[in-house]
């Protein structure tokens, strides 16, 4: 088992993917992020593609860390949460964020796999990936890439997820370091309290 002190020092970035039931799940997970978080957090939540997202409005009030929607070629900011905008893939491109309007991946744009796979190229073993509730298998390949790169993988216990297919698919691709209830994931993130961005 990996203890949270090790995690806090090791993890430079956290990527989170969710679909159906995701707003409720994120409402428990994201407010658990400590104010003195060192890692950068990136979130893909599947949403209707044709409407502006309200995620920043919803979560800014609930979170102890700054929350924003990604803009193209903006710098990655440690200790903050960045959401993928609707109808764009979000990629991490070295020290910057990059967006793409490429075709849908797993019927989704933004796609969790696209975010996770780009983040692995940048952070490798210093990345944590979290798969939450959802009704398709987006994210399974991305989480597998994180596992193969030696990063930390976290999956919501399928039986406790509002929609279990996404966590089930992620677990079918391989074991996760942590399979936790949503409160367990919140507790794990709370343990990342540290010195803040460096």
């Amino acid at each position: 088992m990996i203890d949270t002190t090790t995690l806090r020092e090791r993890i430079d970035a956290i990527v989170i993917g969710a679909s159906a039931g995701g707003v409720e799940a994120l409402s428990i997970v994201l407010p658990a992020l400590p104010a003195r978080l060192r890692a950068a957090v990136f979130v893909v939540l599947h949403l209707p593609r044709e409407r502006p997202s309200l995620l920043v409005d919803i979560f800014a009030a609930k979170c102890r860390v700054p929350v924003a929607e990604a803009g193209d070629k903006e710098p990655v900011v440690p200790g903050t949460v960045t959401f993928a905008p609707p109808d764009y893939h979000l990629l991490v491109d070295g020290p910057l964020l990059s967006l793409s309007a490429d075709e849908l991946v797993n019927f989704s744009r933004p796609s969790i796999d696209v975010l996770f796979e780009s983040a692995v190229d940048v952070y490798a073993a210093r990345l944590m990936g979290i798969i939450l509730t959802g009704g398709n298998d987006d994210g399974a390949a991305g989480l597998d890439a994180i596992r193969r790169a030696g990063g930390i993988t976290v999956v919501q216990q399928p039986e406790t997820a509002q929609t279990s297919l996404m966590p089930e698919s992620a677990l079918q691709r391989g074991a996760a370091d942590f399979v936790l209830t949503i409160d367990g994931i919140a507790a794990l993130l709370r343990g990342l309290d540290g010195e803040g961005p460096t």
């Binding site: 803009g71 070629k73 764009y88 990629l91 309007a101 490429d102 190229d121």
Partner: protein, 275 residues
């Protein structure tokens, strides 16, 4: 995860493409390019990018197919209807003051945006005095754009977007349905010039009143974005208009000071008077 060898091979392949075919991807954004190249590698049955490079250099059919992989961007007509609504409300009234108009759609790919603008301008009675330059680096895509033929199954989405853009007519006025396809009206095309042009290597070719370049710059790194913004600044007339993608920004550009935000939320800018 892409290993170090992949990164090395990617640079070599990009250089090979530039040296042999003069297409310059050297300043494209790395993450998207890597993703597309990985997909291309699988599509062409290659185990490594070095194998793909071998094909690109020695098999004449490979490069055009690879170019499609790297550049074709499928958009929708009237994508982001709010952008077109803002053009109608804030830009069209000023465009009316010009006796003749030139519009540049940079990176037009298969033409959806070009026809959207042509239809909007016709609805606003501006098309008869307008010439639209539609440019792209991909000749294949330009041919498709010029044909103006789209799958009928995409039309419902286009129609919905068009309506939400503040339409003054019905989209069905502009196409004929044939064999599962929608063929757009040739009279629109009379006002469009399709041409090969690279934002990475070519210069400006006309003075225009409006540049629309949406979701093209996201594939460029900041330096190449800056080059493109420089071209737009140069090509635009005094107080000309620039529209970019909903999540793109002029903020990090050296040319930010050359433009005013006209409609911030829809990314419409106006060129400032020189000081």
């Amino acid at each position: 995860m892409h290993d170090k060898d992949f990164e090395i091979e990617l640079r070599l392949l990009i250089d090979a493409v530039y040296l042999k075919y003069h297409y310059d991807f050297r300043a494209y954004a790395g993450a998207s390019l890597k993703r597309r190249m990985s997909a291309a590698m699988i599509r062409f049955g290659c185990r490594t990018l070095s194998q793909l490079q071998d094909k690109v250099l020695h098999e004449p059919d490979t490069f055009p197919a690879l170019l499609d992989f790297l550049t074709v961007q499928v958009s929708d007509m009237f994508r982001d209807p709010a952008y077109f609504r803002s053009l109608r409300e804030h830009v069209v009234p000023l465009l009316r003051t010009y006796p003749s108009l030139k519009v540049w759609v940079a990176g037009c790919s298969t033409g959806e945006e070009v026809y959207s603008l042509a239809i909007l301008l016709r609805e606003e009675n501006l098309l008869p005095r307008t010439l639209i330059y539609a440019t792209d680096i991909n000749g294949h895509a330009l041919l498709k754009a010029e044909a103006g033929v789209y799958e009928l199954e995409r039309i419902a989405g286009f129609t919905d977007n068009h309506r939400r853009s503040g339409a003054r007519s019905s989209l069905s006025d502009y196409y004929t349905a044939k064999y599962g396809r929608a063929v757009f009206d040739k009279s629109l095309r009379k006002h469009i010039v399709f041409s090969d042009h690279s934002l990475a290597t070519d210069s400006v070719f006309a003075e225009v009143q409006l540049v629309s370049c949406r979701n093209v710059l996201i594939y460029f790194n900041r330096e190449l974005q800056d080059r493109a913004f420089g071209l737009f600044r140069e090509t635009l007339c005094h107080k000309g208009f620039l529209g970019i993608g909903a999540k793109e920004s002029l903020r990090f550009s050296a040319h930010a000071d050359a433009f005013d935000e006209l409609v911030r939320e829809d990314r419409i800018y106006q060129k400032r008077a020189p000081r």
